[in-house]
Point group: C2
Chain length 153, copies 2
DNA sequence: CTGTGTGCAAACATTTTGCAAGCAG
DNA sequence: CTGCTTGCAAAATGTTTGCACACAG
């Protein structure tokens, strides 16, 4: 899983990104940074569409196309800087992978996404994988329900 | 979650389906049964496309369209006879919901899907939901890894 | 008969690709 | 300068909808 990205400052993250670009013979562009920066400034889960709109709003001069957002997100994901998860009807969403591993609680009414971690569950998952002779590489857990607010309305 | 569908024979399942159709003023058609039957005979996880191809192969005379497969799957899902899950790059898949709740181990190499159940994890999930004041309605857990076969090849 | 179901084609939504021009290195 | 990157438009996917005919009840 994502390791070594926890608690990075933006400067550190940017350095990491630049190093990665250099290693792969890719170029550092204003659009790529705008996308990274927007992901960092809004620690949230974005669909490509939502992120595209926000980048456009925050950096109107760059005139970034949605194509570039898709391409950059894929680049970030391939290099473990971002992660994507499919949230049922909410579609595929990306988040910056600079946090320790966590799973999600999703409100089916308002769509709120709450993150959580649980070490015990992780241990049980490893146990199950071992029982089935799987070498675990990744996992996904989503709990769907109704959040406190929506229960009271 | 899905309750009361466990261990149904095909006849029982079909009765349930017919009752449901009658209740909603819907009609029992050969295409709908072919789809249900195919899901039952191949206890597996299907994309609409795959299921469509199999139904076409098994019941060529019906000339079933993919539109009908989509419509029937949605009908079955709305009535808790089938369930759909998004399996990352494998896309959205449906399975007959006549088994007790279970989660999935997915091989990232060959795409194999193995089902498992774990009561302890379910308990922990309830604990977490309670901590965050969520009223749980559903959950999804997928463990991605490399299966035994693929490790040895 | 009535109204639901069907297949087809068209519409849609989302994501990817081809291309000519732009710009980082 | 070289060739990676970009935005646009077009293409490719996956899914839904409109419609006229078919058929279950």
């Amino acid at each position: 899983m994502i390791k070594g990205l926890e608690h990075l400052s933006y400067e550190e993250l940017l350095e990491k990104f630049k190093a990665l670009l250099k290693t792969n013979g890719l170029k550092y562009t204003a659009q790529r940074e705008a996308i990274l920066r927007t992901l960092f400034d809004n620690q949230d889960h974005f669909t490509p569409e939502n992120l595209y709109l926000l980048v456009k709003k925050n950096y109107p001069d760059l005139n970034t196309g949605i194509t570039t957002v898709y391409r950059t997100l894929n680049l970030l994901e391939e290099n473990n800087i971002a992660t994507s998860i499919s949230f049922g009807s909410q579609g595929k969403k990306f988040e910056l992978g600079n946090k320790p591993h966590h799973d999600h609680l999703i409100c089916e009414k308002c769509g709120a996404i709450v993150e959580f971690e649980d070490e015990q569950i992780e241990k049980l998952q490893n146990k199950i994988a071992k029982m089935h002779d799987f070498k675990l590489t990744n996992h996904l857990m989503q709990l769907y329900g109704i959040c406190k607010q929506c229960q009271n309305s």
